[in-house]
């Protein structure tokens, strides 16, 4: 229950690329072939461990359609990480990456970690976008890249966890201002027994006191 840090993620990308399935695979470890269209934004959460620390991931799954684009924009600012997803069997979803990236860069805080994901890697026979192309795009724009399958669960854990690792490193390097919740990072309520709710001091690395709640 208690966590050292909480990270907020968003998942973005064209509709139908498998964003909701990725979230479901990560939080519930299952794949649902027939899936409702996401309306607006849906929420999921899971605990992971990095460097021996419990980290809570709060993940917002957005709707890809143009009609919801402006709603999605409201979520960039408060997120520490973003999974930008395309579908390797649909070239158009790859072509739209630039637009998504521009949108994200414009509305997010500059430290947000963006992970590029080519999903549906199980559908090799229908592949339209080469893995090398994804890698090249990621290199060019300074993103981390990975191909995943929400169906077989291949690389799904890794995608979410590697993003968290990246954020964690940035925290260690002091890049993120962890006392500003608007960055999408919260320090957990340290489970010091007996103490009141305030004063989150304790073992937290270089974290100043102050507490978040």
């Amino acid at each position: 229950m208690a966590y050292a840090y909480l990270f907020k993620y968003i998942i973005i990308g064209d509709t139908g690329v498998g964003k909701s399935c990725l979230l479901l695979q990560f939080t519930d470890k299952r794949f649902q072939p027939v899936h409702d269209l996401t309306i607006g934004v849906e929420f999921g959460a899971r605990m992971i461990t990095i460097d021996g620390k419990q980290i809570k991931l709060q993940i917002w799954d957005t709707a890809g359609q143009e009609a919801f684009r402006s709603i999605t924009r409201s979520y960039y600012r408060g997120a520490a990480g973003a999974l930008l997803v395309y579908d390797i069997t649909r070239r158009d979803t790859f072509n739209h990456l630039t637009t998504w990236l521009e949108d994200a860069r414009q509305h997010s805080n500059s430290n947000m970690v963006i992970m590029l994901i080519g999903n549906k890697s199980d559908l090799e026979s229908r592949r339209e976008v080469k893995k090398e192309e994804g890698e090249a795009f990621a290199r060019e724009h300074g993103l981390v890249f990975m191909e995943t399958s929400a169906k077989t669960a291949a690389n799904v854990e890794e995608a979410f966890i590697n993003t968290a690792k990246e954020i964690y490193e940035k925290i260690q390097e002091g890049v993120f201002d962890i006392n500003n919740e608007a960055n999408g990072i919260k320090i957990g309520p340290q489970h010091s027994t007996g103490g009141g709710a305030s004063g989150a001091g304790g073992a937290g690395a270089g974290a100043a006191g102050g507490g978040c709640c």
């Binding site: 229950m1 929420f43 959460a45 709603i71 409201s74 978040c212 709640c213």
Partner: protein
């Protein structure tokens, strides 16, 4: 007024002697001054003067000054005083309330603030302008901007929500103000956010994403939880907005461990607190209870409800709630709502039900809390709403829990020896036969809930004997109920007993037998069914009697000689006639109160007269009544289909399978048809929407023009304009008014049309849902039969997989 004018002289310069400028004239000159003056001080003074006039001359200032004021907001941003005057002026012009100054003035339309708001927000940049001003740190500018946004939201909530939603930082900016350390701004922002989040799920989610729950809990705790002032209530109202009908946010609330943070809100008052509850505290606690109920509402998904229930128990909240139940000095309406809340926190959750079952009341002698509650339920002197709450709580306590059902019945059985202790069962029996109708109804329904889906307890309850008069031999509870049914003249008692008997006898041959053996029971039912009285309640009674008869036929094991299944059927055919019988049955679901009850597990009666039908009875009725075809044939094996309980034994084979397949195909076709219709409807709806928008926008254009003209006319009064000019204007106005009326007409018919379409659409959607459920039921059955066939060694061709798949597309 004179005073105002003389005050203005300094700003406007001395007028020509002998000429008294009208209000409109003054406004015009002030607006000109703001527009043309190059000196900031001049513009500032003119804005201040406009503000002073904007209450008395709202129409004039709005019509002539709106554009100018917008410019000020853009160009004079550096001067917070000027900005503040401009914001205040706009806020007066668009205020949703009527000013004292206007009360005497019939010229000012009632919804003038709304009309100006509509004009103002039509250009979305204007809203952006105000949103940008939220970034200003200056106290008054920030406050005025928040207040202006609140006014705009009050006047045009839906439009404003849509506009703000598409401004990327719109919601975020407002959320930031919640952390403003100037309390006034924080508090006004709360009011703004309450308006902003009302009924818009997307905005609710963004606000939650922006850490609203953290902020709100911080404020609530710093203000002293339930003992805090109205600001606590505002925080809770905002939380409620965020959670209501928003499963995503409820999920977030639960996952974010916010439920645990509610605990201090429910700390029970100290023993010695005789001072009573302040009205504010009552409101605060009401909101808190409401939040808990929103989390565990039976309308939410089962998953969410059971998770929240578990957390509420583990976090100690259920315990706190029970403490409130047992505390003294709790106001009656809080007590009532707490009882309802406890009910929903335990409903269907065995652990929580057990917990409540073990709570002891601090009475003398100590009694289980449940018993104490039931004492209130069957006590005429208790408030009506409290008694309803106890029933609901008790139903929740029994819901899906065989143990608590068994425990209740157990207290009535002869073996339970301890006569000195008052038990739940005794209380309910007392209520059942009391002279108070409501006690009859509550008790019968409560007892009925001990039997739902529980064949064992139906049998057990048959063993219950009542000692009636001293000397005469004991009578079974079943016979006593049947006797009472025939004797009572009160509608509510009759209905309650018929519901109890139906639940009891359904799927329980033993109870059917017992009922058929009761003196004159059958004759009574047949007579009731035949009755020809015309009135909704009579129809209901006839229908309920027919329903009980139908159950006695269908679940009959032929053990009562004169009333075997066959002979009962003959009796119905002869005395009532099959068609009449089916028609009477269908009367039940036509009753207004049936439809109300079917909607929600909680009895939502405002007055004793509305107490008539129970939710669970509706469910029983729906399951048993469902005929295969429209006409509802009354034959064994069809009509009263319902497979459950007494299967029809042998005879099911390939034919049945074929029958189901055919049915599936048929349903599938119907489904396709409905989908096509749905598409049609959606298109039509879209077309209508477009037409509606068109006429709306031309309508609002005309309205704007009209408002402007009106203002100009009143300005013209001052200028003593030529009479014929005036009449020209008036003619124009008349013409425009007529045009507006015409457009309004069109708008209205379009809207009505659209509404009709929407209702139709909803109906089709429901139909479709029903069909889908039916289909999946049938699928299951087909598979079942298939495997039964396979196990019988039959070969089954696999063509129905294809049927299944086409259903999914």
């Amino acid at each position: 007024m004179d005073f105002l004018k003389s005050g203005l002289k300094t700003v406007l310069g001395a007028p020509e002697p002998g000429h008294h400028p009208s209000g409109a004239e003054t406004v015009e000159r002030l607006v000109e001054r703001v527009n043309n003056s190059t000196l900031l001080e001049d513009r500032r003074d003119a804005c201040r003067a406009l503000k002073a006039m904007s209450r008395t001359y709202r129409v004039e200032v709005g019509a002539q000054g709106m554009d100018t004021l917008k410019q000020v907001l853009e160009l004079d941003r550096a001067d917070s005083e000027t900005i503040n005057h401009a914001l205040n002026t706009l806020n007066n012009v668009m205020s949703p309330s009527q000013f004292e100054e206007e009360e005497e003035n019939p010229q000012v339309p009632m919804n003038i603030g709304e009309q100006f708001t509509e004009m103002f927000i039509k250009d979305h940049n204007n809203v952006q302008l105000i949103l940008d001003l939220l970034d200003e740190y200056d106290f008054r500018v920030r406050l005025s901007a928040v207040q202006l946004l609140t006014s705009l939201l009050t006047n045009r909530p839906k439009d404003m929500q849509e506009i703000i939603l598409v401004k990327p930082m719109g919601v975020s900016k407002m959320m930031d103000l919640l952390s403003d350390n100037r309390e006034v701004i924080r508090n006004e922002t709360l009011l703004l956010l309450i308006k902003l989040t009302k009924g818009n799920a997307n905005i609710q989610k963004i606000v939650a994403f922006e850490n609203a729950f953290d902020r709100l809990f911080e404020i609530v705790s710093s203000e002293g939880f339930s003992d805090g002032g109205i600001i606590v209530e505002d925080c809770l109202l905002l939380m409620l907005n965020l959670l209501k009908n928003n499963s995503s946010n409820i999920n977030f609330f639960k996952e974010g461990s916010y439920i645990q943070r509610m605990l201090p809100m429910f700390n029970t008052p100290e023993e010695n607190e005789d001072a009573g509850w302040s009205p504010q505290k009552v409101s605060n606690v009401h909101c808190m209870l409401h939040i808990v109920r929103t989390l565990v509402s039976p309308c939410n998904s089962v998953q969410i409800v059971s998770d929240c229930q578990r957390i509420l128990k583990n976090a100690g909240l259920l315990d706190s709630l029970c403490n409130i139940l047992m505390a003294s000095g709790v106001p009656a309406d809080i007590l009532t709502e707490t009882i309802n809340t406890v009910g929903e926190v335990v409903r269907g959750n065995v652990g929580n039900q057990e917990f409540v079952g073990n709570v002891m009341a601090p009475s003398n002698p100590p009694r289980p809390a449940i018993v104490v509650l039931l004492m209130s339920m069957v006590n005429e002197k208790q408030p009506f709403s409290l008694r309803c709450a106890v029933l609901y709580c008790f139903q929740c306590y029994l819901y899906h829990n065989e143990m608590s059902q068994a425990n209740l019945v157990q207290t009535l059985l002869p073996s339970s020896t301890d006569v000195s202790n008052l038990t739940s069962g005794q209380l309910l029996c007392g209520g059942l036969f009391s002279s108070d109708v409501l006690s009859n109804w509550f008790s019968a329904v409560a007892l009925m809930h001990a039997l739902i889906d529980n064949p064992i307890q139906k049998e057990q309850l048959l063993r219950v004997l009542l000692a009636t008069n001293i000397g005469s031999s004991p009578v079974s509870l079943l016979h006593q109920c049947t006797l009472l049914l025939q004797q009572t003249t009160k509608l509510q008692s009759k209905v309650a007993l018929l519901m109890l008997l139906s639940q009891w006898t359904a799927r329980c041959a033993g109870a059917v037998t017992g009922f058929l053996r009761a003196p004159s029971a059958v004759a009574y039912l047949v007579n009731q069914t035949c009755s020809n009285d015309h009135d909704d309640n009579e129809y209901l009674l006839q229908g309920l009697s027919a329903f009980l008869l139908a159950i006695c036929i269908h679940f009959n094991d032929d053990s009562v000689e004169n009333y075997s299944r066959e002979s009962l059927k003959q009796l119905v055919v002869r005395r009532v006639g099959m068609e009449t019988f089916v028609a009477k049955l269908s009367e039940v679901s036509r009753h207004e109160l049936y439809n109300k009850a079917a909607k929600h597990p909680q009895l939502r009666a405002k007055a004793p007269a509305e107490v008539l039908i129970d939710y669970e009875f509706c469910r029983l009725f729906k399951v048993l009544e469902k005929p295969d075809g429209e006409g509802g044939e009354w034959r064994r094996g069809s009509g009263w289909g319902w497979g459950r309980g007494d299967g029809c034994g042998a005879g099911w084979g390939g034919a049945a399978l074929e029958q189901y397949k055919a049915l599936i195909r048929q349903q599938d076709a119907r489904l396709q048809e409905l989908v096509a219709q749905l598409d049609d409807m959606l298109q039509q709806n879209h077309a209508l929407q477009v037409a509606l928008n068109d006429s709306k926008s031309s309508n609002s254009l005309l309205k704007d023009e009209n408002t402007l003209l009106k203002a100009q006319v009143s300005a013209a009064h001052g200028h003593s304009i030529e009479a014929h000019d005036k009449s020209q204007y008036e003619a124009k106005i008349n013409q425009l008014t007529a045009e507006i009326n015409r457009l309004n007409e069109i708008l209205k018919t379009t809207q009505e049309e659209k509404q009709k379409q929407e209702v139709e659409l909803e109906k089709l959607k429901n139909d479709q849902d029903d069909l889908l459920i039916l289909l999946s039921d049938l699928d299951l059955k087909v598979n079942d039969y298939k495997s039964r066939l396979v196990s019988l060694g039959e070969k089954v061709e696999d063509d129905n997989t294809e049927v299944q798949e086409s259903n999914l597309t």
